[in-house]
Every structure is written in structure tokens, then in C-alpha cells.
Amino acid sequence: MSDTAKEPVLKAQHLSIVFGSLRAVDDFSLEIGESELVGLIGPNGAGKTTVFNMLTGVYQPTEGAYFLCGKKMNGKKAHQVVAAGVARTFQNIRLFKKMTVIENVKVAMNMHMSYSILASIFRTPKYWKEEAEMDAKAMELLKIVHLADKADYVAENLPYGQQRRLEIARALATGMKVLLLDEPAAGMNPTETAELLDIINVIREKFKISVLLIEHDMSLVMKICERIQVIDYGITIACGTPEEIANNPRVIEAYLGKDEEEVLC
């Protein structure tokens, strides 16, 4: 990070959301600096994905505000949030299943394309130029996630791990500043997880982006996160470096329950 006190890339202040009588997330605050990788962990149903949904415009927070590079994002729709620079992947993979791998990536580039409907009908030089440029860019991204040779496959035919990587490529194609990864390693075997780890590192190096990561695979989280925030029942219970979190009694309690002996045996 730079030496001056720079504005964090993503800043959430006291976010809360209420569904009916349930306070799903309460007083959630977070700051992510440039090129920083922050982990968001917590037991199932703790409200992690809800945080993501608030940060990406899917849900509007009931209270609190969040900022991207100092700009207030409350009230913005999902696609506007993406245009501003926050992209995400989904816990339960959401690809455009019946479209090819490269098409999946190109869809996310749509907002960087500018040819008009008339240009598409008459197939003007601009159409060919933009399409060719985007093809090249998409292939580059697919190379990063090791899917270049699968460009013309139909997305739903890819194995699970590759689908997850395609989602990352699609998110990258939006050209965002902050990438939110929702359990990217879920359902992956150790080899695939290791590959994913490499990819995340390459991405951070190449694009200088910040990453917020939800993950259940603790070894992955401990390995790559610079800071970790833990929530339980929608409330932040701990914040700190991986070592601090690993030794925090409240975190252990949240994960394992109060009666340690009972759980451990």
C-alpha cells in the first residue's frame, strides 16, 4: 500500500439488513485497501453471502452505507455497482449454461463495447474491430484461468472446478477494482484448490485488484488472506491477521460450539 493515508477501495460502514423480523447482518463494517486480500469467514448461515449481496446491489442495506473509492454506492442497482467496479462470483455457480465458455466471458465485456444496433445489422468495420478485440481479450482471461483450450465448449459441459474458474474469468472481464469471491474452492479437490490459489495470486499480481473472499476451506483462507473478518449470526466477532484469528477463543467457540470436549471427541 502507498505511504499516504489513502482512501480504501471498498469501505462498508455499519451495514445492517433486516428481513421481516430477522436481522440477518448487523453493524457490518469493513475496509479493503488497494491490492489487499481480505477473508470473510463464519459458520453456515452467518450472513456472509448476505454481505456480498449488499455490496453488489442485489439487496439494499436497511442501515449503513458503503463506498467504492470514496463514492457512495447505496441505492445503486446490481449492474451499476458492477460498472462502478465491484464484480463477484456466486456460491452456487451461476453461469450462462447454454452458452459457450468464451461467450460467457464476452457477456461481461458488453459494457465496454459501444457499437450500435445499426452497426451490428450492417456489420460495419466497428463491429468487426470490437468483436475481434474482445475475442482477444477474452482469450487472454481464459488463459489466466487455464480454460483457453475450452473456449468453444458449452459452459454446462465443463466439470465443476472449471465452471468455478470460468466464473472468475467472467468477473474479471467486467474490469473491476474489487473482486468478491463467494466460496471459490467449494467442492474442489486439493489439486484443484491449489490451482485456484495460483490463479488468485496471478490475478492479484496482474490486475492489482482487491479481493474479498468467502471461504470454508480454512487452509486456503489462512494461506492467502492478509486480514480476516469473522461473522456469526450477522455480527462481526473478530478481525485480524490469520494468526490472531486462529487463536481467537470467540472464533473457536463460534465454529466448534461452547462445549469443546464434546465436539472434539
Binding site: 453488489t56 446491489g57 442485489v58 442497482k77 446490481a78 449492474h79 458492477v82 460498472a83 464484480a87 463477484r88 456466486f90 451461476r94 453461469l95 450462462f96 449454461k97 447454454k98 452458452m99 461467450e103 460467457n104 464476452k106 457477456v107 461481461a108 458488453n110 459494457m111 463495447m113 457499437y115 444496433i117 451490428s120 445489422i121 450492417f122 456489420r123 468495420p125 463491429y127 468487426w128 474491430k129 470490437e130 468483436e131 475481434a132 467472467r170 468477473a171 472481464a173 467486467t174
Partner: protein, 339 residues
């Protein structure tokens, strides 16, 4: 950047294919082999042309956007009435027939497009069956309105619309309309709309303004339905709002599905075949609709994606195969739908 050479050649091949097809039709009608039935057959083919435009435009909604409308005849009627009122006002004012026809088509398309925009903005907040039922409601409202306005005949037949649709013109209008829709689908716009069909939440998370693209597609679909309506009005020369009822909308939807959702080849063949089927079976008049419904159910049971699925015919592909000697008894259907 210029068009890749390969693409240019394939476009030219398709153009040649279409011209050859057109010349075949001209030869068929001019040679007189059909004798006294020439005009009757021409009529069936003209019907097929405007039906193709209507079905292809509905396929934009059903196949590409993945929403189904049961009120397409409503937009068609807006185009039909707007264009008929326009030509009645301008007939005999010195415009050539072709100029009048082209203007009528544009007026019909724009009027229906505006209707599509007005309906689409509120209605597209709904999806699936709810959207379908709302399109029925809008189409019925349009029908009731046309039954009550004096300018649209006040519920009675309006007749004496100038006959401008002939097969040759309609053929080219159909080719142009289908080509435009095809080009739209095979561009960033079509890609975006397909993404919305696949998963609208993921599409929004990829920076796509879902509402905008849905309304855009709905409007374009209505625009071409209006053109189809204008072709219809100037072929029939007389019409009544009940022509554009729920049953007609359902028939159009059926033709889309039977042909294959998302396939323009399917729309062309489905529309051409199903619109002429009742004519061909005229001697069994009582049983033809019965047979039609049974055929529908059988297709749905054995080919739920429609006869062509999302497959597109490609003249270039056929030629390539022919060159390599791989062509086994594959019939050349010709058409505007290939890239």
C-alpha cells in the same frame, strides 16, 4: 478493421442462394405450370411470408429472451391498423405503390414498436406465466380498443385497404426482416439477451442492465410484428379486430415452438408449413384442426425443443460438405438464416 474475408464470402454465398430461390419462385409463377391455380398458390406463399416475419419476431422473445408472449397478435394488429389508416389517407396522392408499401411497413413497425415499449416497460417486471398472462391481457385491451374506435371501424370490418402486398415484394421484406433479426441475435445484443435468458441475476452481476435489454428486445419484437401486420393488412385488404384474438396469438406461439425455439430456420419452416397446412387440408375441413392439434401434441412429446431445436441451416456448411463429397441426400432448403 474490415470484415474478415471468410465472412464476406459466406454472406455473398447466402445472397446468391436467396436470389436463386427467388428466381425459382419467379420461374414457377411465370412459366404457368400451375395454370389457373397460380394466384391461389401465390396467395399461400404471401401468407407464408408475413407469417414468417411474425413467427421470427416472436422467436426473438421466446427463443432468445426466453419469455413467452401470448399477445403477439395484439402488436400485429397495431401495425396492421396503423399502416392501413396511413395508406388510406395517402392512397392516390401520387406516391408509387412501392414507396407507399415501404412507408406503410415502417409506420406499422414503428406504431407497434411504440406499443411494445409502452407494454414492455411495466410488463417485463414479471416473468414466466405471469408475463404470458399479462401479454394476453394487453392484447385483449388493444382488441377491445380497436372495436371501439371509429377510425378502426368501431368493431366492424374495415375494407378497401389498398392491395400492396404481392409475393415478390413480401419475399424480399421477409428476407430483410429475418436477416436483420439474425444479425441482431449474432451480436453483442443477442449475446446479452441470451445471457439474461440463462440467468438474469448473473447477467446483472456481469454489468448488464437487464431491464433495458429486455424492453429493447420486446420493442424490436413488437416492431417486426407490426411490419408483419402491415404486410397482412395490405394483402387481406379487409380486417376486423377479432382476427387478432387470443387464438391467433396462440397459433403464432405454436409455430415458434414447433419450428424450434431460438432457431430462425425453425421459424421459417414452421411458419411456412403450418400457415399453409390448413389450406392444404382444406378438403378435410372439419378434421384439419383436429389433426393439427394431434400433430402438436406428438411433436411436443417426441421433440419438446421443436423440430429444429436451436439448430440453424447453413448454406455454406452444405456447400462445404458437397465439395468434400460428404453430402448424402441432404436437401437444400435455402434461406436467409445462415452466416
Amino acid at each position: 478493421m474490415k470484415m474478415p474475408k471468410e465472412k464476406l464470402i459466406s454472406y455473398l454465398i447466402n445472397l446468391v442462394g436467396i436470389v436463386v430461390l427467388f428466381l425459382l419462385f419467379v420461374a414457377l409463377f411465370q412459366s404457368g405450370v400451375l395454370g389457373s391455380r397460380t394466384n391461389y398458390v401465390k396467395g399461400i406463399f404471401t401468407t407464408a411470408c408475413y407469417t414468417i416475419v411474425l413467427v421470427a419476431s416472436l422467436n426473438l422473445l421466446v427463443g432468445i429472451l426466453g419469455e413467452f408472449s401470448l399477445g403477439h397478435a395484439g402488436f400485429m394488429s397495431v401495425g396492421a391498423y396503423a399502416s392501413a389508416i396511413f395508406t388510406n389517407a395517402l392512397a392516390g396522392k401520387g406516391l408509387s405503390d412501392l414507396a407507399l408499401f415501404v412507408l406503410a411497413l415502417i409506420i406499422g413497425g414503428v406504431a407497434a414498436g411504440i406499443a411494445g415499449l409502452l407494454v414492455g416497460i411495466p410488463a417485463l417486471r414479471l416473468r414466466g406465466d405471469y408475463l404470458a398472462i399479462v401479454t394476453v391481457a394487453f392484447a385483449e385491451i388493444i382488441r377491445v380498443a380497436f372495436c371501439n374506435f371509429a377510425i378502426t371501424g368501431g368493431g366492424r370490418t374495415i375494407s378497401g385497404i389498398t392491395k400492396l402486398s404481392n409475393f415478390y415484394w413480401c419475399f424480399w421484406v421477409m428476407v430483410i426482416c429475418v436477416t436483420i433479426m439474425y444479425m441482431f441475435v449474432r451480436s453483442r445484443f443477442g449475446r446479452t439477451v441470451k445471457a439474461i435468458r440463462e440467468d438474469y441475476i448473473a447477467a446483472a452481476a456481469s454489468g448488464i442492465n437487464v431491464t433495458f435489454y429486455k424492453v429493447l428486445t420486446f420493442t424490436i419484437s413488437a416492431f417486426f410484428a407490426g411490419i408483419g401486420g402491415a404486410m397482412y393488412a395490405h394483402y387481406m385488404t379487409a380486417m376486423i379486430p377479432t382476427n387478432f384474438n387470443f387464438n391467433y396469438s396462440a397459433e403464432l406461439l405454436t409455430e415458434v415452438i414447433i419450428g424450434g425455439t431460438g432457431s430462425f430456420t425453425g421459424s421459417i419452416i414452421g411458419a411456412a408449413f403450418l400457415s399453409s397446412l390448413p389450406e392444404l387440408m382444406r378438403q378435410f375441413s372439419n378434421y384439419r384442426m383436429l389433426a393439427y392439434s394431434i400433430v402438436l401434441v406428438i411433436v411436443m412429446i417426441f421433440r419438446p425443443g421443436g423440430i429444429f431445436g436451436s439448430w440453424e441451416f447453413s448454406l455454406v456448411r452444405v456447400l462445404k460438405k458437397a465439395k468434400n463429397g460428404e453430402l448424402f441426400a441432404k436437401k437444400n432448403k435455402g434461406g436467409a438464416e445462415n452466416e
